[in-house]
C-alpha cells in the first residue's frame, strides 16, 4: 500500500504591532484575502516590544519561520519604536545567520493598517519560502517535538 507523503506545512509565528500590522491583518480578513492558516499571529504593542528571546522561543516551541511586522518607519504609534526594532532585528537576524541558521526563516516587514493586501501577499510569500526550506532543524528543541 502506498502511503501518501504528508505535505509539509510550516508553522509561522507573526509578531504584529497592535496599531498597524495587526489592523492590516484584520483588513486582509475583512477583504476576504487568502493567506495560509499556518500563520499564527501574536499581537504586540509595538514591533520594538519583540525581544530577541521571543524570536528564539518561537523557534523552540515549534515555529519554522518567524516574521515581525510593524508600522512603516515614520508611522510608529510611539514615534520611534520601529526604528529601534529595525536595528535590533537586523543584528539578531545577522547573528542567527552567523550561527548557521537559515536566514530565510526570519523576516521583518512594515505593514500599515491600510495594507491588507500587502499583509496577505507577505504571508503567502513567507510561507512559500519557509515551505521550501522545510522543517526547522537547527533551532529546534527536541523535547517540544510531538512524537
Amino acid at each position: 500500500m502506498q502511503v501518501e507523503k504528508k505535505e509539509f506545512k510550516p508553522t509561522i509565528v507573526a509578531f504584529c504591532c497592535n496599531w498597524c500590522s495587526y489592523a492590516g491583518a484584520d483588513l486582509s480578513g475583512t477583504n476576504r484575502l487568502n493567506y495560509p492558516a499556518n500563520v499564527k499571529i501574536i499581537r504586540v504593542p509595538c514591533s520594538c516590544r519583540v525581544n530577541p528571546m521571543f524570536v528564539l522561543r518561537a523557534f523552540q516551541r515549534g515555529a519554522d519561520g518567524v516574521i515581525i511586522c510593524g508600522c512603516h518607519p515614520g508611522d510608529c504609534h510611539y514615534t520611534t519604536g520601529n526604528y529601534y526594532a529595525r536595528r535590533r532585528m537586523t543584528l539578531l537576524f545577522s547573528m542567527l545567520d552567523f550561527l548557521g541558521i537559515e536566514r530565510d526563516r526570519t523576516r521583518l516587514e512594515w505593514v500599515s493598517a491600510a495594507e491588507g493586501a500587502k499583509f496577505a501577499a507577505t504571508m503567502n510569500d513567507f510561507v512559500e519560502t519557509v515551505t521550501k526550506l522545510g522543517e526547522n532543524k537547527r533551532l529546534e528543541d527536541l523535547r517540544c517535538k510531538k512524537q
Partner: protein
C-alpha cells in the same frame, strides 16, 4: 599482570570496543575530553580531561520521567534506562576515587536507581599518572596515583602498558580481550611506580594540613572571619562545581513541552544564587555564605557523615579552571593547620 605494547594499543581498543562502548580521553583543540572510541581515535596523553569522569554515571542532565496529559488523564511514562555496557579507559586515580565518594551519596538508602544502573553497566580502567602536574594534590586525601583504583589498573612506560585487574569485573574484562594481551611479570610496572613516586615527592602542594577540619571544630570554622576575605573575589559562577569529580548536587525540574511534561534532573551549583531558593525565601543571600557552604561541605560536613572521608580527590581541575584562581587549596591553607 598483563601487558601490551603501546604501538599496538589500537588493537586493545578495538577488542574492548567490540563488545561494549569504549570511552577514552581524546585531544581536542580545547583540551582533552572523554570521547567514544571509533576506528582511528587516538588516546590522549593529557593528565586529566577538562571534565571529570563522573559524567558517565551522573550526566549533567538526565530524564527521570515523562507525563503525558490527555483530557483528565495523566499518563506516566518511565524513560528507558540506558542498558549499554561501557568501559571508561584512562581514568586517573583521583577520578577513580571520586566514584567511591559518589557511591556513598547515591548508593545509600534510598538508592538512586539512575546512578546505580549506570554504575552496573560501566567498567573503569584506570591508568597511573606518569606526568603529575603542579595542581595535583591527591595524596593529601590518601590517594596513591601509582596504585589507582577502578576495575582494572594500568601503568605505562615508554613502550608498554601493563594491566592488572582489581575486581571481578576487571578480570572478566581482561579475559574478554586476552587475545591481544601478553603475560607480564607482576613486578613489571615497579619501575614506573618508582619514577612517579619520585615526581610526586616534588609536588608543591602535597603536604596540606587538614587537621583543623574536624567535626568538633565545625562551629569555629563556620564562624571564621576568613570566609569574607576568601570569597571576596568569587564571581559566583559554577565552574569549580561543574568540573569537580565529587560535586553531586542536582536540581529536579519540570519542562513543559507544550504537549506534556518532561521531568529531568540537572547538575546544580551551590555557588548559584538560586541554589537554596525555597518556599520561604533564600537562606544564603550572599556569595560569602554560598562559598563557605561549598568548602564546609567538602572539608567538614561530608567527612563528618562519611567516616572522615573528605569530599575532594585533589584532581586540581578547580585550581586550573577558576576564573579568579580561588580554590580549595587556598581555603585549606587559610583555615587549616596553624590557623585553627
Amino acid at each position: 599482570m598483563k601487558q601490551i605494547k603501546l604501538d599496538s594499543i589500537q588493537s586493545l581498543f578495538k577488542a574492548l570496543s567490540a563488545t561494549r562502548t569504549l570511552y577514552l580521553p581524546v585531544d581536542t583543540p580545547a583540551g582533552a575530553d572523554f570521547k567514544k572510541y571509533e576506528d582511528g581515535v587516538l588516546w590522549s596523553g593529557a593528565l586529566n580531561p577538562n571534565r571529570s569522569a563522573k559524567d558517565f554515571f551522573f550526566p549533567q542532565t538526565e530524564n527521570m520521567v515523562d507525563f503525558k496529559v490527555e483530557g483528565k488523564t495523566i499518563e506516566i511514562i518511565e524513560p528507558t534506562r540506558p542498558d549499554e555496557d561501557f568501559v571508561v579507559f584512562g581514568v586517573r586515580a583521583c577520578d577513580a576515587r571520586s566514584f567511591e565518594l559518589l557511591d556513598k551519596v547515591f548508593l545509600c538508602d534510598p538508592v538512586d536507581t539512575y546512578y546505580q544502573n549506570r554504575r552496573e553497566h560501566g567498567v573503569i580502567v584506570t591508568v597511573c599518572c606518569n606526568k603529575p602536574a603542579e595542581t595535583c594534590f591527591c595524596t593529601n586525601f590518601g590517594i596513591d596515583p601509582t596504585a589507582p583504583g577502578g576495575d582494572v589498573a594500568c601503568w605505562q612506560d615508554d613502550d608498554t602498558l601493563y594491566l592488572q585487574a582489581n575486581t571481578k569485573a576487571g578480570e572478566a574484562l581482561l579475559n574478554s580481550v586476552a587475545d591481544v594481551l601478553a603475560e607480564a611479570d607482576d613486578s613489571a610496572a615497579d619501575s614506573v611506580k618508582e619514577t612517579v613516586k619520585a615526581i610526586m615527592a616534588k609536588l608543591p602542594i602535597q603536604n596540606l594540613d587538614l587537621s583543623a577540619f574536624t567535626e568538633d571544630n565545625l562551629l569555629n570554622l563556620f564562624g571564621s572571619e576568613q570566609w569574607k576575605k576568601l570569597s571576596e573575589a568569587c564571581l559566583g559562577c559554577g565552574t569549580c562545581t561543574f568540573v569537580c569529580p565529587t560535586c553531586q548536587c542536582y536540581d529536579i525540574k519540570d519542562f513543559d513541552t507544550g504537549h506534556g511534561i518532561k521531568r529531568f534532573r540537572c547538575w546544580d551549583s551551590c555557588m548559584y544564587s538560586e541554589f537554596t531558593r525555597c518556599a520561604h525565601g533564600n537562606p544564603r543571600l550572599s556569595q560569602v555564605e554560598r562559598f563557605r557552604q561549598r568548602f564546609m561541605h567538602k572539608l567538614v560536613y561530608f567527612p563528618a557523615n562519611n567516616n572522615g572521608d573528605f569530599s575532594c580527590v585533589g584532581c586540581g581541575r578547580c585550581l586550573a579552571k577558576c576564573p579568579i584562581s580561588m580554590n580549595i587549596v587556598k581555603v585549606i591553607k587559610a583555615l587549616g593547620g596553624a590557623n585553627k
